[in-house]
Amino acid sequence: MKMRLIVTLVGATILLTLASLWMGQQAYSWFPPEASAESKLIDDLFSFLVALGTFIFLGVTGTLAYSVLFYRAGRYDYSDGPPIEGNVTLEIVWTAIPIALVIWIAGYSYQVYEQMDVRGPMEMVHLHMPETMPAAYAQPLETGGLPSAEIAVQAKQWAWIFHYPGPGGQDVTSTELHLPVDHRIKLALTSDDVLHGFYVPAFRLKQDIIPNKTIDFEFTPTRIGTYRLRDSQYSGTYFAAMQADVVVESPVDYQAWLADASSRVPSPAYNRASFEYNRSAEQSVVRGWATVPPAPPPVVNYAPKQAPDSPPA
């Protein structure tokens, strides 16, 4: 009897482990493409959590399901079950294991966070562990002869404007965020009015933008392509329309784009909030409640005239 119990438990554990490992592998396919160095770290951590979570979920629900299937009272059986009130050993075990797991998960998350190092040095207070992790810089900033200056990100209701230092020191503006691949990017995030959130799902990165404050934010794009930037902190009426394209390109293309943009004469870019607002102002029958009017379409050097068109993830 004892032997049979042990065999059953070992068998169940092996099955659960296999199922959990499989789910952990599936987890990678639930994300958009991995387009930054940080996204790889986060996906690995998430996969680990999915595997662990699957084990716990199946373990608990499997036991519940087993009870529901095999411990049903007979139709006329009104007797009680065995009066087991507890088991100290078992209770200590199921307190100790979660404590160990919490320390493990939190420690792993801490290491990943240290490696990401996404906040600028002004904000970051390092609590170094004995072994510090090397940051996930793909390459030092200065390589490729690229300007190491920051790109300023200006958010407002409801538009994104990106400011690049031009070749002659002038302010080159765009409503599309162009980034050189495999370089550490330093953004300075500012907001003109309310809270916004800088969120590029393909980079797995997000940072709220706070008025009256400049927030440094850094990361390393690693995959050429066009991705979507979304506002992630609710910012009012046209919040959902506040999107932009992020174009990650080779350093050569990036330089060419910057040179081209700096030579263009500023013109109004497409802006969905303003477009919709003007359209609804013309309607007389069905109108919503009063709203903060959107800023006019931003007048920028590089001004796409159509909606963001990054491909689906």
Partner: protein, 559 residues
Amino acid sequence: MANIPVEALSGNRAQPYPGAPDNWKRFFSFSTDHKVIGIQYIVTSFVFFLVGGLFAMIIRGELITPEANLVDRTLYNAMFTMHGSVMLFLWSFPVLVGLANYLVPLMIGARDMAFPRLNAAAFWMVPVVGILMMSSFFVPGGPSQSGWWAYPPVSLQNPTGTLINGQVLWLLAVAISGVSSIMGAVNFVSTIFKLRAPGMTFFKMPVFVWTVLAAQIIQLFGLPALTAGAVMLLLDITTGTSFFRPESGGNPVLYQHFFWFYSHPAVYVLALPVFGVFSEILPVYARKPLFGYRVVAVSSLIITGLSAIVWVHHMYASGTPGWMRMLFMFTTMSISVPTGIKIFAWTATIFGGKLRLDTPMLFALAGVVNFVFAGITGIMLGSVPVDIHVNNTYFVVGHFHYVVYGTIVFGIYAAIYHWFPKMTGRMYYEGLGKVHFWLTWIGTTLNFLPMHPVGLMGMPRRVASYDPEFAFWNVLASLGGFLLGLSTLPFILNMVSSWIQGEQASHNPWRAIGLEWLIASPPPVENFEQLPIVVSEPYGYGKDEPLVSNLAELSESPE
């Protein structure tokens, strides 16, 4: 109290005391009977549950297609703001206060709450909150559109420029709701400390009472912070102060601290009594004692303590410095230890029992399963690097709907079915109950599970329009949402028809152990003519020991 015969099975269901308003009109009066107030809370809040559900179905109707084409964006924003506000302040909080109001005095052997008039006053503030919230639909500019967090500066923007606007009414409603809840909390804590029956020591109290105590202590320490934040925001809007107004030097992030210092623990104000409900119901329908009763009871208070030091996990992306992110990640994850203890204890309780899958048991079991899932996604959200990706996405929306709907609403349904015979003296219809359960569980899964993958893909919450790549999961979620709307119909039908003409219930139809099951269904006014003298721990299933030493005096009424 005069000598009143306690007639458990009399044909007349009216509460038999001289001169009492013995009909349905008592539910529309300023009654001080905790049982009347409990039912007043439950029914009132259920009406608002339907209102909030209607808002949710408008939201899901808009989101069934990617474009913003069903309602105007301002209306959509008002819908999700009011959905969240109504569901929390007018459904989840009051319905659980109602259950606690009904059950706590019965379970500890008290004749009423410690302050019956305060109790009634706290209840009658709920309709005032509801009227204020609903009236905001009729003021210029419409209801608040800043989300239920009301984060400044968006909540400070007042496009109509009028003083009486949706946001001001919202803040007044929230402040009044806070006062009502604090009054309730004082009452519950006093009642549990001072009015326990002879012999009812803390470690003889049912776990539901422990969890209500743990939850109401949170109200006492947490609500002042939210109320202060709401008052400061109100001053910023109406009188031009600048606590949170960035253009004149205020700090909008400070509000987030005030808000979450209460509003995260608030989740435990809701979840703890539901954990209590699970702990009550599982032993009854498994015919086994609650596994590790003392540890389960004490773990509630550990949750109370930890809940006060985790609020910044809502603000990982809010310009929070790295050290603070790490600190709150550790505290947040540690909550999984006491909640894990509860989950394992429930699992061990039903293991090897003699299970009967009546509707309350089905809701309780499914609630536990949903809660395990929500707990796992909760740990994922607690991990800073993962949260940096999924913060403010539908992954979070899916997670907390598994908590507030999958766990808390399931627990509430389980409790209503389980104690329905006690409250009304009638049995509900088991068949309708099972239909309700399956519709609810399928609807919940279809509605909230797809929110997780779509959140991982990067769909932000609170959007009225989205990219077509998210459409598939949103269609599923919307179908689930409409199914959940539908699922309330068999419930309402069951409750109304059973209360009117259901089969008479005995004083203890579930053969449950507990003081409330020793007296008539429904209990007489003032519950216990003779106070019970408690001699055993709760949940003595299979032990054949008496719960009270004066059973004969309690149930001298004709059976």
